[in-house]
Each structure stands twice: as structure tokens, then as C-alpha cells.
């Protein structure tokens, strides 16, 4: 793929996200929620942290023109780190020499998170892994959010045999323990980022569908739906114009909380050995390789701490943002 096409896809995806939020932001319910959310300091702080992660992911995705003909196009992140030299072996954060008891050698540069066994900067790897996590979670959301929302509304609105079929499919899927289904799908499809997104998409829509089905069932009995029907609107107009806006806040809360689960799943699957292919920057793979380093003497701790820390703060902020959104949209229940 040419780098410009790649850039276009990334920017296009982001634009779709912003446009969707923009459209929904004009409804009354969202405006009120925003007023409440603005005063939620924890929510704002986590939103800020997530924005930072998105920025890092964006910088690790967007490619600049190649410096010379025939060379690979560096990402913005690569360009930012182009001044950071490669060392000979492990070095601790901010150390002056390599991490060796017998023959420490002077380093060529400073590394705020140290270097790994090959002497590569850990900060750069951690930042690159951010892109993998965001791409997996983003692609999966792109698959399961429309699927779960649509099927849930359709099941909840039409009831009867449509509901029966959809329920049968998701109850059957839900009776296979998630992790086993993921492992099975990934074993059959093979390792890879898009495979992982497909597998996670297949397993993730069930929870959302269940939630939206219940809520749509409640909404479908409300007077405004009856009024719309009395006015002669068809089912699709009622679903898209009337029910969808009234369940959309549940979708966005589920999206944020689900995103944190997806980031965690990505790391666990990569760790088990069915996720990201070896060589992909991934927090799960980093944790896997860090496991061996802990038994070294002296202990190499920064690799594990960097991967865990980066993963932790993203997942934590997503969890906190999800809770804040829930509080903002539904202040009564919390």
C-alpha cells in the first residue's frame, strides 16, 4: 500500500468518528450530558489522557515522504526519534552506561525508558505499540458497534421470529466461553491484526446487542413510537429516526468501556500466542518477553514497567471515561 493511501485511511477513520460525534452532539440529551460532563474533573482528565494516546497512535501511523528514493517512508514518530541512537545492549532509564556489571560501556544517548536487549529505545517501542492497540480496538469497534446496535434494535422493535433468530444466534455464541472462541477463531484464521479484529468483532457484539435489544423493547412501547406509527412512518424510519437516537448514549458508553476491554484482550491474545504476529510492536508481546528478563540478575524491570504502564493508563482512562459518561447521561442511576 502506498503511504499516502495509508494516511488517507487513518485520517478518514478519524474524520468519520468526529463527524458521528458531531451529528449526535446536537441532540438535547447529549447537550445536557455535556453540561454535566464538563464539571466532571475525573472524566475530563481521562478524556485528555485518551486524546494524548490517540495523538501518539496518529503519529505512529501517519507517514512522511521518504528521505531518499527507494527508502521506506518513516512515520512522524520515527522522525521524532531519528536522533535517538541505537545502543549495544540493555541500559537502564537515564543511565550513562550499558546495563552490565562486568563491563559497562558508555551510551551514545539518553533513553528515558532505557533500551532493550538489542539496544533499541524502549520509549519508541512503547509508543509504537500504542498504534497496534488502537488499531485493533478501533477496527473491532467498527465491526461490532454497527452490528450489535442494528441487530439489537431490530430484535427489540420487531420481536417475534426476528427476535427469536437473533436471540438464538447470540445465546449460542455467548455459550462458548469468549476466550476459547477467540482462540479457536484465531487459530483457524491465523495471526494478524485484521484477523484479531474479526475474531474480537464476532465475540464482542453479543453484549451490546443484548443491551440495545432490551432498551429498544422498552422504547418501542413508548407513546412517541406509537405516535410515529400513527403518522404512517415505516419501521425503518422509526428505527433510524426515533429509536436509534434514544439508545445512542448506551452505544457510546459501551463503545468506551468496550474499547478498554479490547485493548486488554489484544495484549492477552498476543501474550497467549494467537494475537499479533511476532515482531509487531505490541504491549502483550512486550510483557511476554519481559517475563524472562525478570529472572536475570540484576533485574531488567523497565521493559515490563513501560509496557504495563502504557497499557494501564490507557485502560484506566477508558474505564474512568466510560463511568463518567454513564454518570453524565444517566445521573439518577449512579
Amino acid at each position: 500500500m502506498t503511504p499516502w493511501l495509508e494516511n488517507l485511511i487513518v485520517i478518514g477513520g478519524l474524520a468519520i468518528l468526529i463527524a458521528t460525534l458531531w451529528i449526535w452532539a446536537h441532540s438535547d440529551r447529549w447537550q445536557r450530558a455535556w453540561q454535566r460532563f464538563r464539571r466532571d474533573r475525573l472524566g475530563i482528565a481521562s478524556l485528555g489522557i485518551i486524546a494524548f494516546y490517540l495523538l501518539v497512535g496518529l503519529m505512529a501511523s501517519l507517514r512522511l515522504p521518504a528521505p531518499a528514493h527507494g527508502q521506506a517512508c518513516p512515520t512522524i514518530l520515527d522522525r521524532l526519534f531519528s536522533g535517538v541512537p541505537k545502543e549495544k545492549s540493555y541500559s537502564a532509564p537515564f543511565a550513562d552506561t550499558t546495563y552490565s556489571v562486568n563491563r559497562p560501556e558508555p551510551l551514545k544517548g539518553r533513553h528515558p525508558l532505557g533500551t532493550d536487549v538489542l539496544g533499541k529505545d524502549v520509549l519508541l517501542q512503547t509508543a509504537k505499540a500504542c498504534r497496534t492497540a488502537l488499531i485493533i480496538a478501533g477496527l473491532t469497534s467498527l465491526i461490532y458497534i454497527p452490528l450489535g446496535t442494528l441487530l439489537g434494535i431490530v430484535a427489540g422493535y420487531f420481536r417475534r421470529w426476528v427476535d427469536d433468530i437473533i436471540q438464538y444466534v447470540y445465546i449460542t455464541l455467548a455459550s462458548i466461553p469468549n476466550i476459547l472462541l477467540l482462540v479457536a477463531i484465531l487459530m483457524v484464521l491465523g495471526k494478524g491484526l485484521s484477523q484479531m479484529a474479526i475474531a474480537l468483532g464476532i465475540t464482542s457484539w453479543v453484549g451490546l446487542c443484548r443491551l440495545i435489544r432490551g432498551e429498544s423493547m422498552r422504547q418501542a412501547t413508548r407513546p412517541y413510537v406509537e405516535a410515529a406509527r400513527a403518522l404512517g412512518h415505516g419501521p425503518w424510519v422509526i428505527i433510524t429516526r426515533h429509536i436509534l437516537p434514544n439508545v445512542m448514549h448506551l452505544v457510546i458508553i459501551n463503545l468506551v468501556l468496550g474499547f478498554s476491554g479490547l485493548v486488554l484482550s489484544e495484549s492477552i491474545l498476543s501474550y497467549i500466542g494467537v494475537g499479533a504476529p511476532v515482531g509487531t510492536p505490541s504491549w502483550g508481546l512486550m510483557i511476554d518477553s519481559a517475563r524472562m528478563e525478570l529472572s536475570r540478575e540484576p533485574v531488567v524491570w523497565w521493559y515490563l514497567v513501560s509496557a504495563t504502564g502504557a497499557l494501564f493508563f490507557l485502560v484506566l482512562s477508558l474505564n474512568l471515561l466510560g463511568d463518567a459518561l454513564r454518570r453524565a447521561f444517566d445521573p439518577k442511576s449512579s
Binding site: 438464538y168 444466534v169 445465546i171 449460542t172 455464541l173 455459550s175 462458548i176 466461553p177 469468549n178 476466550i179 476459547l180 472462541l181 482462540v183 479457536a184 477463531i185 487459530m187 483457524v188 484464521l189 478498554s260 486488554l264 495484549s267 492477552i268 501474550y271 497467549i272 500466542g273 494467537v274 502483550g284 510483557i287 511476554d288 519481559a290 517475563r291 525478570l294 529472572s295 515490563l304 504495563t308 497499557l311 494501564f312 485502560v315 484506566l316 474505564n319 474512568l320 463511568d323
Partner: protein, 333 residues
Amino acid sequence: MLFSGPGDIMLNYLLRRILYLFPIVFGVMLITFSLFYVVQSPRAMALQILGPKAPKEAVANWLHNRGYDKPLFFNTAPGKPPLDSQFFHYIKSLAIFDFGVSDATGEPLTEVFKRGAIPSLLITLPSMLLGLFLSVSFSLFLVLVRKSLIDLTGVFICVVLMSFPIMDYVILGQWLIAIKTSYLPAFGFNLEGITTAKYLALPVCIAAVAGLGAETRLYRSIFLEEINQDYVRTAKAKGASPNRILFSHVFKNGLISLITLVVASLPFLIMGSLVLESFFGIPGLGNLTITAIRTSDFAVVRAVVYLGSLLYILGLLLTDICYAAVDPRIRFQ
């Protein structure tokens, strides 16, 4: 006759609930079949196991021995029964719990699973009970001090605990307890009384702690929901102490929703055992699965998925029965 008395209503409910299992188990079979026979063809599987340069006869032999050379759904060849196909053989063998042999080693899988079941149970059951005890205690405590700073801090700590992947708990626990202080062995397993407990202590504790954050938060919200019910107000009005309301009224009523959630958390335990067992070298089903993934042993993974689903479905059935036994309203639905 089934509708004549209250006992028969329960029986009727049970029958309906059990009949309902069949289409679901069939669905699970269909999903595993389409994954492992249709999406991934047995031929590709054979090449992966025998090597890409395996002679044609060897591949054909391997396929024939395992029945993989039959047609997928219906046998249209003249003179053959129409149901002599991979799909119907698959369903027939699963129905009598015959999982065939391992693709990699050729060992009968029923034997392999029997061997792995005990170590797996020794890990999952204690960790489930310990985790349940800890999370219910913590959540009741948080409900007791609800809306205070301690409650808020407690919930925040839960969210923090939820935000670490399970590997971190394992790595940290193993490193701190086993390698740094060597209180407990870091690796290994046997079945010889007291030393078994020594090997199990660390993985069981880690599994219990890893699920603590999510479970405590969930149970807290369940108990909080009960706190707002009318019966709590009545109990308060008749002068019951807050402790008595919490531990005897709220706890008992919350327990009903709790049972379902405990069963629903079983898949989490499976994931825990996948990561834990391979880490601690415990020869259980989780370890088996990881090894099967690494050696592309499709027969093992296929059987584990089916077995895991079956256990989960049975667990859900049992909860539904408990639920109906406790709450008469359910039986009439």
C-alpha cells in the same frame, strides 16, 4: 397433568429449560464444525502438521485415518449412506463424548482430558471460592460505608485493579513471592498431598486477586440496588440495625443475582487458567490448550472449545434451576 400442582410447574419449567439446551448445543457444534472443517480445511491442517513437503500418500492416509476425507455435509456418492459425512460423524462422536485422537501425538483425547481435569479443578475451584469470599466481603464493606470517601476510594481502587492484564498479576506475584523471597515454589506441580498445596497456593491466590477489582465493583452495585428496595425501608422502620439489614436482608436477596454472576464469571476463570497453568507448569486443561495452540493441534482446541461450552451451558442451566427454586416468579414465565 403437568399443570396440576406447584411441583409440576417446577417440573414443567425444568423440562422446557432442558429441551431448550438441545438447539444451543447443536449451534455450538455447528460453530466449531464450520470453524475447524469449513474455514480451515482438514487438508490445510494436515499440511501444517505433517509439514508442507509431506508426500501425497501420507497426507491422504492421515486424512483417511481421521475420517477427514469424507464429504462435508451429505454423502452423494452412489452406494454410500447419505449421512456418511464429516458433519454427521462429528456430531455423533461429540454426542457420545468421543473426541478422537490428538492431531499432533495421536493420543486419545478422552484420556488426555481426564488427566488434565484434576489439576485444573484444583486451581479453579479454590480460586473461585477465595475470590468470591474476598469480593463479597469487600463489596459488603463498601456498601456499609456507601457514599463516603472510603467507598469512593474503594471503587477507584477496583477500577485500577481492573485495568491491569492478568499477565501482570502473574508475573508480579511469581517474581515477588517465588523468586525474590522464595516462600513458595515458582513452578511445578505434583499430586502428593501437602506439597500439592504448596504448588497451588500462589496460582490460586493470583487468580483470586486478578478478578477482585471487577467482581467487587459488580457485587457492590448489586447490593446497592437492593439497598433501595422497599423491604429495606420496612426493616429500617421496624428498627433493625444497619448491620442486620445489610447482612441478613440485603445479602440474602442480593445472593440471588449473585449466583448468576458467579456462573457468568466462569469464562474469566478459564482465561485465568489458560495463562496461569502455562506459567506455573501445571499440567491442566489450560496448559494443554496453550501447548495445542503452539503445536497447531486442532483436534485438541476443537474439543476444548466444545467441552468448555458444554460446561458453561450446564452451569447456566444449574443457575437457572437454582433461580427458579428460589424465586417462584421465574417458573411461570
